[in-house]
């Protein structure tokens, strides 16, 4: 049997790019709890795009108080500062998001760290490699930079909205792998891995279901999941609060 982990055996849920989508977050949390998750890591972009930023930040604050890892995403940063580098729809959504948040919410987001490390893994929104530059892990080279900067077996990130698993295949080389939802994948700790669970609140791969992942450190396994919820109801709500039509369309179609 694999060596006994020195870490506690709790299963960790990876939740990235929630983007103010409370229904998707709740669906993923319920799914994760039922699957045995007792630890949570929120991998940034808690807000932006979605219609429930306050509700989502409330959940994030509750999880953080319970010991969850929460790192800052570029949309979270934009709430407190310059949103100039976001596209038009995104910055419009950020402007609206600011009005929907309380001072306490904004303070929580502003205080989030860009990266976190614990005994098991390194966490950042975009990449462990210069996290403030919001580099997209869009291929093996960027993934290798991330695993190298993490200098740990596991690095967990978000930012790209598609589920991806990268592994170290040799000196200076990483290989990309597209996981199948629901498959438990062995991720032995003697290699280095970068896992991107996909987006909880705004998937763009044509599958409207919320994406997240579960990591079992003791058994060295990761499982990517997709969770169905009422995404059409969420799109209607976005329309009602006046968020840009392009974002509503994206929510309806998962593109």
């Amino acid at each position: 049997m694999p060596c006994q982990s020195m870490h506690n055996g709790f299963v960790l849920a990876l939740l990235a790019d929630i983007h103010g989508n409370l229904e998707a977050l709740q669906a993923c949390l319920a799914h994760a709890r039922a699957a045995g998750a007792r630890r949570y890591a929120l991998l940034g972009d808690v807000v932006g795009y979605g219609a429930d930023p306050a509700g989502v930040v409330d959940v994030a604050m509750g999880l953080a108080a319970g010991g969850a890892v929460v790192v800052k995403g570029n949309h979270d940063a934009a709430v407190g500062g310059d949103a100039g580098y976001l596209n038009h729809a995104a910055s419009e959504a950020i402007a609206w998001t600011r009005t929907a948040l309380s001072d306490a919410h904004r303070g929580f987001l502003a205080a989030l760290p860009l990266e976190r490390r614990d005994a098991d893994a390194a966490y950042a929104h975009a990449s462990l490699h210069q996290p403030a530059r919001w580099e997209y892990i869009d291929g093996p080279a960027a993934a290798y930079r991330c695993m190298d900067a993490a200098a740990m077996p596991y690095a967990f990130c978000g930012h790209i909205h598609d589920p991806q698993l990268f592994f170290e295949s040799g000196p200076g080389r990483a290989v990309a792998f597209r996981p199948t939802p629901g498959t438990e994948i062995p991720v032995p700790r003697h290699r280095r891995w970068v896992a991107i669970p996909g987006s909880v609140g705004q998937p763009r791969d044509g599958d409207t279901r919320a994406a997240y992942a579960l990591v079992d450190f003791a058994r060295e396994r990761i499982t990517f999941h997709r969770v169905a919820y009422d995404h059409l109801g969420v799109a209607d709500k976005m329309e009602r609060v006046g968020l840009p039509a392009a974002l509503v369309h994206r929510m309806r179609r998962g593109v």
Binding site: M1, P2, C3, L165, F167, S169, G170, R173, V175, F177, P179, T180, T183, I185, P186, P188, R189, H190, E220
Partner: protein, 481 residues
């Protein structure tokens, strides 16, 4: 003991060394794939069958591929189930003493049979079908073996083939650790498929090429491409057609040559599309559709080979990814030839046609299970056994005609049995059937308990999908209220 010392002691074959609670015994082999020892478990941990432990060849001077291959096997083997792979009992990864403890497969290594090749025709077909069964089972679990050869096959006493050594394997839902290791992801020279030489992994048809090379060796006593020593020599198979088996062994029947050469097609689309279809042909020689392949008595001439060589060098062809295997489902239709006028026949035929309407290389087996004589069979069907059989076969052929199936993808079976449900389930299992289409109990049989019907027996017993057909307009069976 530190793990390095333990591994060293283990690899040195020091009897009595204890790894992960298992005590090392006799060493069975040592090769590129690592070391295999018989082991005994700790008291109270006996799984009820004999065990071996596999240790990778690691350490200074050992090639890296052994380690990656072992890692791949560590991922893939525990995920596989069924009688065609050894059962895994324990494992340890590369941070400690890397090892796999598995069932010691009792039986005959195929290597021993190969030494006696050429084998008798019936034995070639039997072994070939058993290996095809094993491949079908592994492929159905989304795994490609990628290193099929006699050394990696053991025949259990009941004839079942077991595949061992998954160090080159590819699992569709796991990361492919060998994806970028083209230098050594190629399998063994005499058996490796042309597309593997191009670095393409994960296509189950690659294993069927290796199966073709194995069948060739068993039937002819020689390897189709010899034992190439260089990559250039191996790449011959991208275009060269091997000498037809009958050019070496003239008494080999055309049907077997057809099967072997179809497995060995360099072009993935011309090859068999699934292991199940190879198994079927090896078990039903009279059903094999013969093409010019079957008749070849000489290797193609220089000009033809040159043409193929030129075509294989076409950069567009080399750059293109081969198309995915065509769907090749086996559909079994149970036809009651004792009651040719039954109202359910057209409905069953309609649903069978629906199942066949998608593109692909589907195969249909029409089966009529007839009861033993004297069990309600009228004398009109002839008095003799063979007369009855022929009569049912004629009705079956007539029933199947409107389906318009090409003969090579249609087979007709008349089977005598007192237990039709059990017979259909057994046939479906043996032929890797994907879907059984059969009639619901006739209106007149509705008084019978459902669980006593053939339809319920097949539905409960089969491991595949079952479509139970009723004729349109059948009266409602619910009791009147």
């Amino acid at each position: 003991m530190a793990s390095e010392d333990l591994l060293e002691a283990a690899v040195a074959g020091r009897r009595g060394t204890v790894v992960d609670g298992f005590t090392l015994g006799e060493r069975l082999n040592a090769g590129g794939a690592g070391y295999v020892f018989r082991v005994t478990p700790a008291a109270g941990a006996d799984p009820g069958f004999a065990l071996v432990m596999k240790l990778p060849a690691v350490g200074p001077g050992e090639p890296l591929e052994g380690v990656v291959g072992f890692e791949m096997e560590l991922m893939v083997l525990p995920a596989l189930t069924g009688p065609h792979v050894p059962r895994i009992v324990a494992s340890g990864d590369l941070r400690g003493v890397p090892h796999l403890v598995m069932e010691f497969v009792e039986g005959q290594p195929l290597m021993e049979r190969v030494k006696a090749a050429p084998l008798a025709l019936a034995e070639v077909a039997r072994i070939g079908a058993a290996v095809a069964d094993a491949l079908q089972s592994v492929h159905a679990q989304q795994v490609v073996h990628h290193d099929l050869k006699p050394e990696n096959i053991i025949l259990r006493r009941d004839g079942t083939a077991v595949l061992i050594d998954f160090g080159f394997a590819h699992h569709a839902r796991y990361p492919d650790l060998l994806a970028e290791e083209r230098r050594f992801a190629a399998g063994s020279a005499p058996y490796v498929s042309p597309e593997q030489l191009r670095g393409l992994r994960g296509d189950p048809r690659s294993d069927l090429f290796s199966l073709g090379a194995l069948l060739y060796e068993l039937a002819v006593g020689e390897l189709p491409y010899g034992i190439p020593a260089t990559i250039a020599g191996m790449k011959d198979r991208l275009w060269r057609i091997p000498p037809p088996p009958r050019s070496v062994k003239p008494d080999l029947p055309p049907w077997l040559q057809e099967v072997i050469l179809r497995c060995l097609e360099a072009d993935l689309e011309s090859r068999y599309q699934s292991a199940a279809l190879v198994a079927f042909d090896l078990r039903n020689p009279d059903q094999v559709a013969l093409t010019p392949r079957a008749q070849r008595l000489r290797a193609p001439g220089v000009l033809a080979q040159a043409r193929r060589w030129w075509r294989a060098r076409d950069p567009a062809r080399l750059a293109a990814l081969p198309p995915a295997p065509k769907p090749a489902r086996v559909i079994m239709v149970a036809v009651d030839t004792s009651h040719p006028d039954d109202a359910r026949h057209p409905a069953i035929r309609w649903y069978a046609r629906q199942a066949l309407s998608t593109t692909g290389e589907h195969r249909v087996m029409c089966v009529s299970v007839v009861r033993a004589p004297g069990l309600g069979e009228g004398p009109a069907l002839g008095d003799t056994e063979s007369g009855r059989h022929l009569h049912h076969l004629a009705r079956l052929r007539h029933w199947a005609e409107p389906l318009g199936m090409p003969p090579e993808r249609l087979s007709l079976h008349v089977v005598q049995s007192a237990d039709p449900a059990a017979t259909l389930v057994e046939l479906a299992h043996r032929n890797h059937v994907d879907l059984v289409v059969l009639g619901a109990p006739a209106p007149g049989e509705k008084m019978l308990a459902w669980w006593r019907s053939v339809a319920s027996g097949v539905t409960a017993g089969a491991s595949c999908s079952v479509l139970v057909v009723r004729a349109p307009g059948e009266p409602d069976a619910r009791p009147a209220t």
